[in-house]
């Protein structure tokens, strides 16, 4: 089947993720949107791996997954801490607090 399919799918997911990052106010939601972006990338990776059937693509996808896991862990931890200090995880209030 056509490589374009996968790639377009990735592009759309990516854009949606970007939109989420821009539009969302709640930190957790932003993290989710980032997950979308990462997965979009993964889809592309796999697609390319398939195109010139090599294992690297898959390996990279796995890397990304792992990093994403780490990122989510740390990210949520930070969100928690911020919430504990500020009783809010609205990003704009956050940025208002920081000089």
């Amino acid at each position: 089947m056509y490589a374009v399919n996968f790639l377009i799918l990735g592009a759309l997911l990516f854009s949606l993720g970007v939109f989420g990052v821009i539009a969302r106010r709640n930190a957790v939601m932003v993290l989710m949107s980032i997950e979308l972006i990462l997965n979009a990338v993964n889809v592309n990776l796999i697609a390319f791996a398939m195109m010139n059937n090599s294992a690297e693509g898959h390996v990279f996808a796995l890397y990304v997954i792992a990093v994403a896991a780490a990122e989510v862990g740390v990210g949520l931890a930070m969100v928690l801490m911020i919430y504990r200090n500020r009783r809010s995880i609205a990003l704009d209030e956050l940025s208002a607090m920081k000089g």
């Binding site: 970007v18 990003l91 940025s95």
Partner: protein, 800 residues
């Protein structure tokens, strides 16, 4: 080789030390002055003395050099005469003495480079610079001695001497400048120091404003200097580089201007630009308004500024690169040119203003302006030497006058300068001051056998000699007016009945007292001094020796300096020593030596003889190949009492008239007791006479003076204060206003508004902060991705 007979010497070789020493002295004063017993003044005095010594040595050696040269050039005379008759029939009798060209002593070191060209800093010693070096060092020395007494106990004593020393250094740098850049350097340093000195007592807003005005006005002129230098540089550079020099070197510029290869328009515009600078610095007509205000400074400063340094700088600039003006304005071929116009106007206008001043220093200030007008006029009419000679003589008597005025205020009128309020009859109380003052006045008025006569009269004479008839009359009238107002000032100060402080009164409104009051502001350690100052000033008395000594020296010079070049008694040393001969010399002299090599003396005299290229006459015809001219060949009107007569008569008339009027007008104003007795004595002898005198008095004061002097002069003064001054201030104010407007409307609204409005920063400018803070991260995200996308798109487009 013939040139080797041109003697040189250590002092000539190392004349560059002369400005260097005061500069170092300045550094010493700044860093160690406060700790010294004499508050740093000793450094100033020492350095000036050293410079003076070197200057004397250099002068002596220069004179030897000239003699050695002219002995070479003896039999060039024939040709000279031949030319003289050919070109200017009257010129023959004079100038047999300046036939040989005396090679200047030029040394340069690399200062900066650009575009592969190296530009030097160094010395260019010829008659003109030697003369001024001697003059400046000498007068600075005297003024510093005088100041040790005059400003003693000032809270910024040290700074005062620092500025004074640096000031002299600046002038000296300019005088022996080898190139235009160096000249600008000295020029601007002087501007800075004048700012520091005029604003010396900056606690008073008036003083600091005067300082600001002085610096600013001069700075306006400096635009001309920058532009002119640029124009001349690019005009001359290629020509000069061929000959191993560059377009900044003064010699190269002179030679180029006379080489006949220079385009006239470049010379003209360059000349105009440079002359604008001279106008600003030398207080010529439209830009002279800063000069009287500069009187806010301490008197020694005024004397230094107005005698030999600051204001002379403009005249010096014109004299220094004279060929540019000579060719650019083709002097000698016209009956009128920019320089003469400005000079003439200045002479009359300033003299008229001097009539209505009550402040003695302002009278002197305006007289300075008018005398500078004479110098400019002289340069304008092609009387280079008389103009320079007038710088020389004027320095002595004007400095003496200022110092005398200072001495009067210091010891006679309790720090007041108001002639009508606080002076009068001081001749008896302060004999030395009075005598010196009157000698100097005589010199200034141009009374025969005083120095001023020989210089000023030469200028006027040459004006008609070179075909500037109109300005001949301007000069004469100016001379008469000078005589008149100086007489008036003399009378008000030293004769008649004592008034105010001069009569020993202690009026306590020091509103008009510029000097030492500002100095004695609330400082305990000074208050004591302040008191005994008052104590010493119980009544008018002669000043201590540190003030009178310089006065005496200067006054004697005011008499004798004239005899250096007094055709009346047949002396022409000054001409021999100072005037550069207008003869063509072998071209290799245009090359400036570098790395401190002394300039290779070449075939100066030889070239002059062998191919009599000079007989074409520099400045009139182009020099032959391989030869260059450094100065135009000028002829001098020969002196004759018959020609001097009109000026003498007019001067005499001016003096008598003014004396007569002054006595009538000011004789018995406000009756102090002393005056009354004497007058009542007269009254007992003849009632009618008194009455008549009274009527005459009334007549003069009521009709003549009020009708003539006041309206005209007052009008001039009014124009001066309101229109010209208004322009200067107006420029500043309107500039400010424009700034406000531009800033408020353009900057904040339009340009800035555009940015703020662009949705990135904020939708509304007013509360720019709110929207910025909200959702910072997200907006960055948007920005980031947006930018990335745009970048990507462009990439694609580029790549297609």
């Amino acid at each position: 080789m013939l040139a080797s007979t041109l003697s040189s010497g250590w002092f000539l070789e190392n004349a560059w030390l002369i400005p260097l020493i005061p500069a170092i002295g300045f550094a010493f004063i700044i860093f160690f002055g406060k700790r010294m017993p004499q508050g740093g003044s000793e450094f100033g005095l020492l350095s000036m003395a050293a410079s003076f010594a070197i200057a004397v040595g250099a002068t002596v050696q220069w004179i030897q050099r000239v003699n050695s040269a002219s002995s070479e050039g003896e039999h060039a005379l024939g040709g000279f005469f031949g030319f003289a008759r050919a070109v200017l029939p009257m010129a023959g009798e004079e100038g047999g003495h300046s036939a040989a060209f005396v090679e200047p002593v030029v040394r340069t070191w690399t200062w900066w480079q650009s575009g592969g060209l190296e530009f030097g800093v160094g010395q260019h010693i010829d008659g003109l610079s030697i003369m001024l070096l001697l003059l400046v060092t000498f007068i600075s020395l005297l003024v510093q001695i005088y100041s040790t007494e005059y400003v003693s106990g000032d809270r910024r004593y040290t700074h005062f001497f620092a500025a004074l020393t640096l000031f002299s250094a600046g002038m000296l740098v300019m005088v022996l400048a080898e190139n235009m850049i160096q000249l600008i350097l000295g020029w601007e340093i002087m501007g800075l120091c004048s700012f520091m000195l005029i604003g010396h007592w900056w606690e008073e807003a008036a003083n600091s404003r005067a300082a600001l005005k002085a610096f600013f006005t001069v700075r306006v002129g400096d635009v001309g200097l920058l532009v002119g230098t640029a124009v001349i540089f690019f005009g001359a550079n290629d020509w000069a580089v061929e000959r191993g020099s560059n377009g900044f070197s003064i010699r190269a510029i002179s030679a180029w201007a006379l080489s006949g290869e220079a385009s006239n328009s470049v010379l003209f515009w360059g000349g105009v630009a440079l002359f604008i600078a001279a106008i600003g610095k030398s207080g010529q007509f439209p830009l002279h308004t800063w000069l009287p205000d500069a009187m806010a400074g301490p008197t020694p400063v005024s004397s230094l500024l107005h005698s030999s340094t600051m204001v002379v700088a403009g005249v010096f600039l014109v004299a220094r690169v004279y060929p540019v003006f000579f060719v650019g304005f083709d002097i000698l071929d016209t009956a009128v040119n920019l320089i003469t116009i400005i000079g003439g106007i200045t002479i009359i206008a300033a003299a008229a203003l001097a009539f209505v001043q009550d402040d003695i220093k302002k009278v002197l200030a305006y007289s300075t302006v008018s005398q500078l007008g004479y110098m400019m006029l002289g340069l304008g009419v092609g009387a280079w030497l008389p103009a320079v000679f007038h710088i020389f003589t004027h320095a002595f008597f004007k400095c003496a006058l200022f110092l005398a005025a200072g001495s009067v205020s210091h010891s006679g009128s309790h720090h007041s300068f108001d002639m009508k309020k606080d002076m009068g009859g001081l001749a008896r109380k302060m004999p030395i001051t009075a005598t010196t003052w009157m000698i100097s006045t005589a010199a200034l008025c141009g009374i025969p056998f005083f120095s001023g006569f020989f210089s000023k009269d030469e200028i006027i004479d040459n004006a008609s000699h070179n075909g500037y008839q109109f300005f001949y009359w301007v000069g004469l009238i100016g001379a008469a007016m000078t005589a008149a107002y100086m007489t008036r000032a003399t009378y008000l100060t030293f004769f008649g009945a004592p008034r105010g402080a001069a009569a020993g009164e202690h009026h306590d409104d020091h509103s008009d007292a510029h000097d030492a009051h500002a100095a004695h502001d609330a400082h305990d350690d000074h208050d004591a001094h302040h008191d005994d100052h008052h104590g010493r000033h119980a009544g008018p008395h002669e000043s201590p020796w540190r003030i009178t000594a310089p006065l005496v020296i200067l006054a004697s010079l005011a008499i004798f300096s004239g005899y250096l070049n007094a055709p009346a008694v047949g002396t022409h040393y000054f001409t021999d020593w100072v005037e550069p001969a207008g003869v063509a010399v072998a071209a290799d002299h245009a090359a400036t030596a570098t790395d401190g090599e002394e300039h290779a003396l070449g075939f100066a005299a030889l070239a002059a003889e062998e191919e009599g290229g000079y007989s074409e006459g520099c400045g009139f015809t182009t020099p032959e190949d391989g030869t260059v001219c450094y100065a135009p060949k000028l002829s001098h009107a020969e002196f004759a009492w018959s020609k001097a007569a009109p000026s003498i008569v007019l001067v005499a008339f001016g003096i008598l008239m003014s004396a007569w009027l002054s006595m009538g007008v000011f004789g018995d104003r406000k009756h102090p007791l002393k005056g009354l007795t004497s007058r009542s004595g007269i009254a007992r002898r003849g009632h009618a006479f008194l009455v008549n005198k009274y009527y005459l008095d009334h007549l003069y004061e009521g009709v003549i003076v009020k009708a003539v002097a006041h309206p005209i002069a007052k009008a001039a003064y009014w124009i001066n204060q309101n229109i010209l001054d208004g322009v200067v201030n107006g420029v500043g104010r309107s500039g400010r206003a424009t700034g406000e407007w531009v800033y408020r409307n353009l900057d904040q609204r339009v340009v800035d508004g555009a940015v703020n409005a662009s949705g990135l920063v904020a939708s509304e400018t007013g509360h720019a902060l709110q929207p910025i803070q909200s959702g910072k991260v997200n907006q960055y995200g948007a920005l980031l991705f947006g930018a990335a996308t745009v970048g990507a798109i462009v990439l694609i487009l580029v790549n297609i």
